[in-house]
Amino acid sequence: MKILVAVKRVVDHNVRIRVRPDGTGVETTGVRMSMNPFCKHAVEAAVQMAEAGHTEEVVIVSIGPKPANDVILTALAMGAHRGVLIETDQALETLAIAKLLAKVVDEEKPDLVLLGKQAVDDDSNHVGQMLAALTDRPQATFASAIKLAGDELEVTREVDSGRETIAIPLPAIVTADLRLNTPRNAALPMVMKARAKPLAIRPASELGVDLAPRLKVEKVSPPAERSAGRAVNSVAELAAIIADDVNAMEAI
């Protein structure tokens, strides 16, 4: 089987971001970037399937500016075989991303596409589901376990009421949650080896997809600030505050 994994380069999840004072967006210049954490779990799942002998080829695709090469290299160092960068400097909406990925799926014909469940910059949680619609494939989102059973996948999903298990026939789309696995840190020799693996670069404009935004971003603003209130010194004091609050609450 062949697996395609879509990975996004985002502001590192440990960075405390800053909204630009003019409200045009979030400051990303000079900020540490890395692979979206959820995508790492998707790559790890694909590499584990290859190691288990279920997969001959793991192809990585990322859409973004030239430096997005770095996250493809990270995935190659983790054990993926080949990379494709769909290069664009434009900030794209999720529908456009999904349409570009659908073109790649069309060309590569993977049995399984793995994605992260959400990108921690836009927090959209769209692309996997959209890609599933555009390629008319079944989907299993928010996966915390994936089991190959014949030509089906059994996927355990993290949902609001707990977990649930569904089966989907291949070819299919799966999006990864954080409890799916523990992504490996590539050792230095693997990082060196990754540079020798094939990495194709293609301009996004070449894929014949309308990339024009549908939404107009009016402004980006910081959330209301919270500041420290008061410290209390005893359990009795805290209990009194909680009791007052609770007794004053209107029932809904």
């Binding site: 909204v19 692309v127 959209m130 890609l131 989102t141 609001d160 707990g162 805290l238 909680i242 609450m249």
Partner: protein
């Protein structure tokens, strides 16, 4: 604008969040509410204020089936909406792509017929967008809206559509408990990894029981196996907006704070006066949770709370 809203169900019963997203949707136009589940849920849905009509369809829980069902109805509506729940997140982007629409999801404020606010970067920024597409696919965060009143008696129309899905449902692994629903609770007590064990987490649950509160947990506490995954609060867990959040042994990582930004009041119990949660808490008690929690629970038991 006419709105088709997908009702949020939990195990076949109407969820409390349906009335909240109904209130949000009603700001955009008359709302038809699609209930793909048992008749009893449709009956209950018909009582929600502001609903013009309930459309009752066969039970559907899988994304491809639900998206096809919604797509079949979409033509008559300008807005197709759902809760930003795991169901809404699963279905609506799939529907949007089918309809060639860029969706706007996790909406926390409606600033006009086509102008919406949604958090990005784990809630560390708010994006205001205008959606000028002919059709809108939207999800609303239930915690950001007050529930619509009840007392309505909307007509119920049966929809006889077969729902086909390539996926197959195998099993639900539910966390059964009688504690209040986390995403709509008025009081939430959250526990962190520092409780040290599932046994330790019982201290958090005991305080919650005394207050009639829902129980939340950090990802670290869930990963350690101290709490079930559906208790996780944060960027990748549930988004809550209780009147009172009591954070016990929680550091306040930005991914956790993403889930509690809507809380009216935050109380922190932590050994570390420098913990990020203490810096944003309205009230903090610095000390050991193992010492504090039993005493606090006993003290509140004694005080005779009006709940």
């Amino acid at each position: 604008m006419s709105v088709l809203l997908l009702a949020e169900l939990d195990n076949g019963a109407l969820s409390a969040s349906t009335a909240r997203v109904a209130a949000a949707a009603a700001q955009l136009g008359p709302v038809d509410l699609l209930v793909a589940g048992p008749r009893a849920a449709a009956d209950q849905a018909a009582t929600i204020a502001g609903i013009a009509k309930v459309i009752h369809a066969k039970e559907a829980v899988l994304a491809d089936g639900l998206a096809t069902l919604l797509a079949g109805l979409a033509e008559a509506y300008t807005v197709i909406a759902a809760a930003a729940s795991t169901t809404g997140k699963d279905v609506m982007p799939r529907l949007a792509a089918k309809l060639d629409v860029q969706p706007v999801t996790d909406i926390v404020a409606i600033e006009g017929a086509t102008r919406f606010v949604r958090p990005i970067y784990a809630g560390n920024a708010l994006e205001t967008v205008t959606d000028l597409q002919a059709k809108h696919v939207l999800t609303f965060r239930p915690s950001a809206f007050r529930p619509a009143a009840s007392g309505n008696a909307a007509p119920i129309e049966a929809l006889d559509a077969d729902i086909v899905s390539a996926a197959r449902f195998i099993a639900a692994h539910r966390t059964e408990s009688d504690i209040p629903d986390l995403s709509t609770a008025q009081i939430v007590v959250g526990g962190g990894v520092s409780v040290g064990s599932a046994e330790g987490f019982k201290l958090v649950e005991a305080l919650g029981r005394t207050l009639g509160a829902a129980i939340g947990a950090t990802r670290a506490a869930v990963d350690a196996g101290y709490a079930p995954n559906d208790w996780q609060v944060g960027q990748t867990g549930k988004i809550i907006a209780p009147d009172l959040y009591i954070a016990v042994g929680i550091s306040g990582a930005l991914q956790h704070l993403a889930g509690i930004q809507g809380a009216k009041k935050i109380i922190a119990i932590n050994t570390d006066a420098e913990a990020p949660i203490v810096k944003i808490a309205d009230v903090a008690l610095i000390g050991d949770l193992f010492d504090i929690l039993p005493k606090l629970t006993a003290e509140l038991e004694k005080s005779g709370l009006k709940r």
